[in-house]
């Protein structure tokens, strides 16, 4: 009888993220002049998917109670790399895609090594590696430019069978191929355990280091998928500092909206995807309500502020004041 209550308790964050997203998306669609057409869904899915990949990457690291401030820069770096490599005939294109994904994994692995074996704090280590990745991106693309295999790009940013946005299929594939295997494996469990209590996990003989390393590496992979998708979306590579740091910061927001605990050990990449889509919809919402674009950042900030304050309602349930201090 109580089986499902445990499950519900575990998924509460994800369901909350889903609820926020559904609420916002419904309001958005209800006020959209065209309603829910395949076109509207495709645009929304494409823009949301960019955020969602980066947010998933951030989730993996946050679960180990770390934080990756370089995800946005890996995203930008792989975007620049893809604008060189993912071109030409089908075979070179395929090799290019693989190379870009591997590059992302290497970036993530470097972060992991510094945090695990270098014993550096994740915040500062990833600030520094973020600078390095951005430098490499600038080396690759001092000026925006480059190109991409446009057939592949159109296929992946278009629609499947005329209805389903391909970007959603890609996201589902990322969940099925990266997140679920990780979540269900022993290593993934170790990453969760390390996030909720590293000492307890160590004492129980969990493979903490491998778990954390896998989390950082896969985060690099997911960020690279995002970078690749950005290239398909824009057809170019651009080393823009503002876009890198923007994606990093919004990925943290998306993760929190999706019910992932910043203290680690709790949350799901699926929740982060909903969080990312919800964050994205805030921007679109102002468009359908015909708000002056000048007000957009302010309203986005206020919505974000309110959304993160909701979590503090839990304080009302705290019986012992010492529980304020985690």
């Amino acid at each position: 009888m109580s089986e499902w209550r445990y499950w519900l308790n575990e998924q509460r964050g994800t369901l909350m993220g889903l609820a926020i997203f559904l609420l916002m998306f419904t309001v958005y669609i209800a006020n959209h002049p065209a309603g829910l057409t395949a076109n509207v869904a495709q645009t929304a899915a494409n823009k949301g998917a960019l955020f969602a990949f980066v947010a998933m990457a951030q989730t993996l690291v946050v679960i180990t109670s770390g934080i990756d401030l370089s995800v946005g820069m890996i995203f930008v770096l792989t975007n620049c790399l893809a604008s060189w490599l993912v071109v030409g005939e089908p075979l070179p294109t395929a090799l290019g895609v693989v190379a870009v994904l591997v590059a992302g994994m290497v970036c993530g692995a470097v972060n992991g090594l510094l945090v695990i074996y270098g014993r550096l704090q994740p915040i500062v280590a990833t600030i520094a590696t973020g600078a390095i990745y951005f430098g490499l991106a600038l080396l690759l693309r001092p000026f925006p430019g480059g190109s991409v295999n446009e057939d592949l790009a159109d296929a992946l940013t278009g629609r499947l069978f005329g209805v389903i946005p391909s970007s959603l299929v890609l996201l589902t594939a990322a969940v099925l191929l990266v997140w679920l295997p990780f979540r269900r494996s022993k290593i993934g469990r170790a990453a969760f355990a390390a996030g909720s209590s590293e000492q307890a996990a160590f004492m129980s003989g969990m493979p903490i280091r491998r778990g954390k390393f896998a989390a950082y590496t896969l985060a690099g992979l997911l960020a690279a998928m995002g970078g690749l998708f950005l290239t398909f979306f824009t057809y170019t590579g651009e080393a823009a500092y503002a876009s890198g740091s923007g994606y990093t910061l919004w990925s943290i927001a998306a993760v929190v909206l999706g019910g992932v605990s910043l203290y680690g050990g709790r949350g799901s990449a699926i929740g982060a995807i909903f969080g990312a889509f919800a964050a994205r919809t805030t921007g679109d919402m102002l468009f359908v309500f015909d708000v002056d674009p000048l007000w957009q950042p302010l309203l986005q900030g206020v919505v974000l502020m309110i959304a993160v304050s909701i979590g503090s309602l839990a304080l009302l349930r705290v019986r012992n004041r010492l529980d304020w201090f985690l």
Binding site: A128, A131, L262, L294, P297, V302
Partner: protein
């Protein structure tokens, strides 16, 4: 094990007293500054001229003021990501206030700093009383500050050029040869050192950084202290923005973007633990000078932006691997 620790003690015992008491991280940071100056002097002797060094200290003072605020927050074990737009807000509001005429020019600097303090109070309230993780609440207030400034400058165009008083504060000379910005930084540094070492507020900050529960149980109103600390950080960020506006002679959007990560890096390179509770102000000063010097030398050597970013990241990682590591096997 006992043998090695005895060895260490005997080495330490032989050092002169001031070195024995000093934090190894601070010494390393100052050592790196000297090494950097030595290496750059091989490239060109201009790097050692008094003019160049004073110019660098002047540029460093903007980062120094921001990093001082950041350090208070990091000592608590929190972080302030709202620096970029709080800086911009401070600068823009100060310049705009000066444009109103009347008492405007006199009130310009206080108004800018107060706007920063207000944002700091919001951050502090969210962190201390609502218990939202500092990373996320400061992130949100950064977006709100950005939104306010975009609306403010877009709706009607306020004065954005810095009034003479602010310019004088950043670039003028009270003592011939010594730029005012350096004096301002020194004054703020003196206040910070006093705050950290001689007041109960400073003790409480270190205490909360080590264990907020323990501080609370010893009768410290930890929530009030945390809120004040964030207000100080906001005020100093805004003041740094005001100084920067004086130096650039105008306030511009996104002028603070380049200060967030260097401020965190400077505090951490100076040996302050990002987990809070440990660190000395002298280290932060060393970190600020080190980062400014590194950026300046790389740009004088005409290294392209890409190379500068890479060197910058590598230097931070290498230095942290020397002394910023967590103890093994918790």
């Amino acid at each position: 094990m006992s043998e090695t620790s005895e060895n260490r003690i005997s080495i330490r015992a032989r050092l002169p007293a001031f070195l024995r008491r000093a934090d190894p991280a601070v010494l390393t940071a100052f050592g790196c500054i000297l090494l950097l100056l030595f290496l750059s002097s091989l490239y060109s002797s201009n790097f050692l001229s008094l003019n160049y060094l004073l110019q660098q200290l002047k540029v460093a003072s903007f980062l120094g003021v921001v990093a001082a605020g950041m350090m208070v927050v990091i000592l608590l074990g929190h972080i302030d990501l709202s620096v970029p737009w709080v800086m911009t807000t401070g600068a823009m509001m100060a310049c705009a206030a000066a444009g109103f005429g009347g008492a405007g020019p006199i009130m310009a600097i206080p108004i800018g700093v107060l706007c920063g303090a207000a944002f700091g109070l919001v951050n502090g309230f969210g962190v201390a009383y609502l218990r939202i993780p500092s990373m996320i609440v400061t992130l949100a207030s950064n977006v709100v500050a950005q939104g306010l400034m975009v609306v403010y400058t877009g709706g009607f165009s306020p004065q954005d050029s810095a009034p003479p008083a602010i310019r004088w504060l950043a670039t003028g000379f009270v003592i011939p040869g010594l730029p005012n910005a350096i004096i301002v930084w020194a004054a703020i540094s003196a206040i910070m050192v006093f705050l950290f070492t001689r007041t109960s507020f400073g003790r409480a900050v270190y205490g909360i950084g080590n264990s907020e529960r323990a501080a609370y149980l010893s009768g410290v109103d930890t929530r009030r202290i945390v809120m004040i600390a964030f207000a100080i950080s906001g005020a100093l960020s805004a003041f740094g923005g005001v100084l920067l506006a004086g130096y650039a002679s105008k306030a511009a959007q996104a002028m603070g973007d380049a200060y967030l990560l260097p401020a965190i890096a400077a505090v951490v390179l100076g040996g302050t633990s990002i987990l809070g509770g440990r660190g000395s102000y002298l280290g932060t000063v060393a970190g600020v000078i080190l980062i400014t010097l590194l950026q300046s030398i790389l740009s004088v050597m005409q290294m392209p932006e890409a190379g500068r970013q890479i060197v910058y990241g590598v230097v931070i990682i290498v230095m942290l691997l020397f002394y910023g590591r967590a103890p093994p096997n918790r």
